[in-house]
Amino acid sequence: MTNAEARVPLLRIVSLTKRFGGFTALDNVSVDIPPGERFGLIGPNGSGKTTLINCISGAFRTEPGTVLFRDEDITPLQPHVRTRRGIARSFQIPRPFRSMTVAENLMVALDFAAHEHVSVAQRRDTMMSILTQMGLASKANASATKLSQVELRKMELARAMATHPKLLISDEAMAGLSSSEVDEVLDLLMSLASQDITIIMIEHIMQAVMRFSDRVMCLDAGKIIAIGTPSEVMANQRVQEAYLGT
Amino acid sequence: MKRRTLLGGTIAVAAFGLVSSVEAQQPPIKIGMSMPQTGGLAGGGKPSLLGIEIWRDDVNAKGGILGRKVELVVYDDKSSAAETPAIYSKLIDVDKVDLLFAPYATVPTAPIMPMVKQRGLLLIGNFSFQVNSKVGHDMWFNNAPWGPPDSWAASFLDIGQKAGGKTMALLAADQEFAQNLAKTAREVATKRGMQVVFDQSYPPNTVEFSSIIRSLKAAKPDIVYVASYPPDSAGILRAVNEIGIGDNVKLFGGGMVGLQFGSVMENMGSLLNGVVNYNSWLPEKSMYFDGTKDFFDKYTKRAVEAKVDPLGYYLAPFGYASGQLVEQAIKAVGSLDQKAIAKYLRENTHKTIVGPIAFSADGERKETAVLQAQFRGVADKNMEQFRSSGKQVILFPENLKSGDLVTPFEAARK
């Protein structure tokens, strides 16, 4: 964190604003995320967390504001190009490719997002090692529709991993899971973070955020109301108001 | 591999079905045709077919032709041009029919014209319009009363000009038959130096004609020539009735398909009054020939069961007449030699229930027998009234004329 690298952020968001009709979902948001950071993103419902992610991953276009990734302006790029640049994400409500098996889900990522051309056999190996890491190896040939909730969450992370990301955005990957499952997924994310992957984690489960994050940012009504270490943010009055007040 | 076996199987089944059906010691004379029994032309195809079937039964009751019974081989072409080539190939190559009749109407007939020409086969046309003009097949004979292509528009405009008409409006459906009519009408008008003050084609499936009629009315024509299809004919007349057409219109109608069909006429009722429209047969005294009455007695009975047009004036007797044409020709020639039959048909005048028929070189009638008739005193919701004479007064041709034009149009509607 304190080394020289931190001055060249992996992701740099500059004055990002996003409006839907008259509603301002994001209001002049700027933040830098250095490589290797575990970044927690919190905020009440409708505060703009998912909108921010959609702006980073490219699902939404932004007019005012820029998104820089590894010093490159990616604002005009389509989502799939951003994925190839190294931004991967999971979804709040899992979105598997339903007509495919788990293995095939990952193969899509390997086919399209892999940087160098590698043989089919090599891709298969990569896929299996990711699945093994995620604890899904036994489900490789199962249809994506047959997975349990936690398996779906893991598969989404695995699919995101298969794109060889530098930045992984996990959008409430623990919602609706039991506490043991939450721990499981949290451990997974931790182990990914230790592999030199920067992670943005959106989460409602505060404990998980606290345990996971190097730094936490809190959004409310599209604005940053606090940013800092988990304990700093938690102690912040406005954060407490945002969570308890409204 | 799989697809070939399947395909082969289909053909085998089709062929097999045929072989087993023909077993009589005196093989029947097979007449093959497709006929629209579903789709947009079915309303015409079904009564036409019934007319042909009545002829078949009459002939067979008399012992057939040359001692052989007549058998019809009929397939449904779904009113589509795409279906007929395969059907006629089946009729020729697999069913090996002795004679071919064309399906009702121009569109399904057009694709088979080059085919029969190439193979040198006789084809009796069924109310198609000018399909042979480009193909030039010398063994084609159309049962329809059209005659030379421009005679139709010419007779209508004659009537209009006699009534003092100087300008013409033209309203035609954007479909093949209507467009052909409109084209000849335009040509005749130019030839006669008649001014065309309104010339519009409307698309198929137009729902509401009020706006078109309104702009037609604004052009103040003397003569309104309408070439329309069944659903639109009704819509146009309704709109005319509601919007009005102006007092200067002396003559209205001409080429409206649909006003010949019983159910349409019944539905339109008094809206029809005053319209002068083409027709092929009408229950006027001048129209009865040898066998005509007998035919309609039979048709009326069978139409109810078959759920087809209860009147059947327009197409059914001509279906019967198609049969009479080949019947006479075969008897005269004494064989099924198609060249000889064609020669006979071309060189003679034939007696039919729709009057004497003689062909010119292009296989159309030598002289037009298209009637122009005016609706008079028609009441609402009454099918039976159309069976009596006087409801449709024949204005043209001269030799069949049964009354004079009532003009202007607005007056004739009363």
């Binding site: - | 309303g43 084609s201 409307y202 698309p203 509401e208 509601e242 069909f261």
Partner: protein, 290 residues
């Protein structure tokens, strides 16, 4: 100028007619996402039943339309049940197969009509058919005024029903979020079935209008697939008043082209407008999706 005014007036009335025949689809497709390509076939079927009642009992077509409304409601309930059991229950991707299913249903209805009523064109008689109302130089066919009245009534009733009643609100909720509805304690399937019943029931009156405005034949439904879907999509899915507005736009455009420009270009203009709308506002003019 006179002609233009005339074209606009007739166009508005024609548009109302389009609205009336499309509004059922606006519920079934617009709110429930059922790809109901058999909607026009149901419509033609209703028109034939109206014809039958009018012909045999001499009952006014509008009344006849009302008489068959309950019948069509039940018919709709049954149709949705079948649809649900075969598609929605099995999960996603009903799309293509749903369309094929309803095409099949449309063909079956078409043939049944041919077998029962024959291929001849049919129409009905009523006091208001064939006469017109004079205002100054303008003449307006009464049957188009009937179309106007029915369209207004249907739009108003459906809008009120969807906003004021519990069931109506549930129907709108089901279009937005099924889960939320489940939490409210309502069974989404029941709600959808009920909504589909209503969508089908309004076809009774719409079918009466169809045969009042113009004669019908068994294959008429094919001409209305494009028109009805055009209206519903242009309106934006599920908006009743939007349906009316979109239909009126379509009607006026068609009428103006018919009167002022080449009549034969009318269909192209209408559908080019639809493409234009979709290209600029994919959610339609009054779309429910943001």
């Amino acid at each position: 100028m006179d002609l233009l005014l005339d074209a606009v007036v007739i166009g508005v009335l024609l548009g109302c007619f389009y609205a009336a025949v499309s509004i059922g689809l606006s519920v079934s497709f617009g709110l429930l996402d059922v790809p109901h390509v058999a909607h026009p076939a149901f419509l033609v079927l209703a028109a034939y039943l109206v014809f039958f009642i009018n012909e045999h009992y001499g009952i006014d077509p509008l009344v006849a339309g009302l008489i068959i409304t309950p019948l069509f409601f039940v018919f709709g309930l049954a149709a949705y049940r079948l649809y649900y059991e075969t598609f929605e229950r099995r999960g996603s991707d009903a799309g293509v197969r749903g369309i094929a299913f309803f095409f099949g249903v449309a063909f079956i209805i078409e043939v049944l009509i041919i077998l029962q009523f024959g291929v001849d064109q049919r129409s009905v008689t009523a006091a208001y058919i064939g006469k017109s109302w004079r205002i100054g130089d303008m003449r307006i066919p009464y049957r188009m005024l009937v179309a106007f009245g029915v369209a207004m009534a249907l739009t108003l009733l459906l809008t009120l029903y969807l906003s004021k009643t519990y069931m109506g609100r549930a129907i709108r909720a089901v279009a937005q979020d099924q889960e939320a509805l489940r939490l409210m304690g309502a069974n989404p399937i029941r709600v959808k079935q009920w909504a589909f019943g209503i969508a089908t029931a309004v076809l009774g009156l719409a079918g009466a209008l169809l045969i009042i405005v113009a004669p019908i034949d068994p294959t008429l439904d094919r001409a209305y697939i494009g028109r009805t879907f055009c209206v519903v999509v242009m309106a934006g899915l599920g908006s009743m008043s939007g349906t009316l507005v979109a239909a009126v736009i379509l009607g006026v455009a068609e009428s103006i082209v018919l009167t002022m420009f080449g009549a034969s270009w009318a269909p192209a203009i209408a559908f080019a407008m639809l493409l234009g709308v979709l290209a600029v506002r994919p959610q339609g003019l009054f779309g429910r999706r943001s």
